[in-house]
């Protein structure tokens, strides 16, 4: 699998670091941002293949960021991650164009499986 450029937006430092470690061990280039504003700024100046997006950020709702990503950089695959998973939330995120949905806590294998799934869906 070719290495991807991945952005993590989550206000939990431990989760950012863990995902960073796991994904960079697989050869991906990883960046992480800890709030919505910083995440959007990074998205404006860089092109990412995959965004790991937390739904509950201190400054804005994850759904709003998801909408913006899908408008401005529709090529990026968004994996929504959340600590309060409901079927309704997952459906809403999927409708807004999220490529996958992970509910916290998730393991390395679950994260990698999700990345694989989203990568294979990405347009070359």
């Amino acid at each position: 699998m070719k290495p991807f450029k991945i952005l993590i937006i989550d206000d939990e430092e431990v989760i950012c670091n863990a995902c960073h470690l796991i994904l960079s061990e697989r050869g991906h280039t990883v960046e992480s941002k800890m709030d919505g504003a910083a995440g959007l700024k990074a998205l404006q100046s860089n092109r990412y293949d995959i965004v790991l997006l937390d739904m509950m950020l201190p400054d804005m709702e994850g759904m709003e960021i998801l909408k913006t990503i899908k408008q401005k950089t529709p090529q990026a695959g968004v994996i929504v991650i959340t600590g309060y998973s409901t079927v309704a939330n997952a459906l809403k995120a999927m409708k807004l164009g999220a490529a996958d949905y992970l509910s916290k806590p998730f393991s390395e294998d679950e994260l990698l499986a999700s990345i694989d799934k989203v990568c294979s869906d990405l347009k070359p």
């Binding site: 939990e12 989760i15 470690l21 796991i22 600590g83 309060y84 916290k104 806590p105 393991s107």
Partner: protein, 414 residues
């Protein structure tokens, strides 16, 4: 006083008491007026009314006139004595030899206060003792039949009033219990959602790092087992929190018109294998097809949960019986699930629907709490009867679709 005037006097007293009783005044006011008028008409020194508190089994003074001491015990011996009077159909009891009366605990005091005769009237409904009325006189004398008749009628009215008050008190206590329970459930729900969210984040860190580390550890490393435990326990926490969120969500049921028996059969089907493996016989006694408006998934969840509990209570070789049917008025359906399992301890029975209460070592204590919430959201009830070692029986009631609802449904179907 000639006899006409005597009767008139009785009549007036009685009329005043009845009028007071119907004026929605305080119970104390009614009783105080009653004892005062009664004492006056009998030319007594005073009179008192005591209630038997059903929980503490102690007598407490609720009304008094002309007397400020209680010469009797308020404890069980008095209750026993009055109960004997009721059993022997003695509606009144005279204590004449004050100095040597075994009924009194302060006979000397009564004598010194000038009491020479005490009339006791147990207040009861059927054979249940509610209280006692006592009339204290300063002169030893005989009572005429008319006087006895009068006092008895007053005491009977008092008994009715007390019975009514106690009934209201019991209802209030039940309501309070229910209100507290509901409040506890809803605040717990909110708290649960908050806790779940906060805990899932650190759990994510633990699970990501441990699942990453375990791949880097050689197969024979002693670290491997520890990491496996960390991963499985973290995953277990995730399950607990998921259950907690289900409970906290308190979502509105997505109701559709359906036949309850279909849901029962579907739930049994899910556990078919389990019944077979553990040699559990399922006895079904399903009534005629009954239409109800309910969320199929939620009711199925409740039934599966009850069946699972029954399976765990039986373990191996036993019987689970399930019965459905409508009540005589056709407005409520009843689902009864009984098992021949180990039963539930009396102490645990009260807490069985409480969140986080579990008798199983690996239980989350949320299954029945969630079931309780679901049935509540369907305007139904769920109850349990059980005795340790003798199995358990859960009864769920749900409102049946009214005949007008059925017609509407049939029209839609047409």
């Amino acid at each position: 006083m000639d006899s006409v005037n005597v009767y008139k006097n009785y009549f007036n007293v009685f009329r005043d008491i009845i009028r007071e009783m119907h004026s929605h005044k305080d119970l104390e006011d009614v009783l105080n007026l009653g004892v005062r008028k009664t004492a006056e008409v009998l030319q007594a020194q005073g009179a008192v009314v005591q209630f038997l508190d059903q929980s503490s089994q102690q007598f407490t003074q609720r009304a008094a006139w002309g007397i400020d001491k209680c010469y009797f015990s308020n404890g069980p011996e008095t209750k026993k004595r009055l109960q004997r009077l009721i059993r022997e159909k003695e509606k009144h009891h005279f204590i004449r030899d004050i100095n040597n009366a075994p009924e009194l605990i302060s006979a000397q005091q009564a004598w010194d206060d000038g009491i020479r005769l005490i009339m006791e009237l147990p207040l009861s409904l059927d054979i249940q003792i509610l209280g006692v009325m006592r009339i204290f006189l300063t002169k030893e004398r005989q009572f005429s039949n008319d006087e006895l008749d009068f006092v008895l009628t007053v005491s009977e009215q008092f008994a009715c009033v007390i019975g009514r008050v106690q009934c209201v008190e019991i209802m209030e206590a039940q309501y309070d219990h229910l209100a507290k329970h509901t409040e506890k459930m809803s605040s717990l729900g909110r708290m649960a959602a908050g806790i779940a969210h906060e805990i899932n984040n650190p759990l994510a860190g633990i699970l990501l790092y441990s699942s990453n580390m375990i791949k880097k550890v050689p197969d024979l490393s002693p670290l491997k087992e520890g990491l496996e435990i960390i991963i499985s326990e973290t995953t277990r926490c995730k399950g607990i929190i998921q259950g907690l969120l289900e409970f906290a969500r308190d979502r509105e049921p997505q109701k559709v018109v359906t036949d309850i028996n279909l849901i029962v059969r579907k739930s049994l089907k899910i556990l078919e294998n389990e019944f077979h493996i553990r040699h559990i016989t399922v006895e079904q006694d399903l009534g005629d097809s009954m239409l109800v408006l309910l969320d199929e998934n939620q009711i199925e969840q409740v039934l599966v949960n009850i069946f699972l509990n029954a399976i765990q209570a039986i373990d191996k070789n036993g019987i689970i019986s399930i019965k459905t049917g409508a009540d005589s008025k056709q407005d409520e359906l009843k689902i009864e699930v009984s098992d021949s399992g180990c039963g539930i301890d009396k102490k645990q029975l009260d807490r069985i629907f409480d969140p986080f209460f579990s008798t199983k070592s690996r239980g989350t204590g949320l299954g029945l709490a969630v079931s309780y919430g679901i049935i509540n959201n369907h305007q139904g009830t769920i109850k349990v009867e059980s005795r340790s070692g003798q199995g358990s029986s859960f009864t769920i009631t749900l409102p049946l679709l009214s005949s007008s609802g059925r017609e509407a449904r049939q029209q839609v179907l047409r």
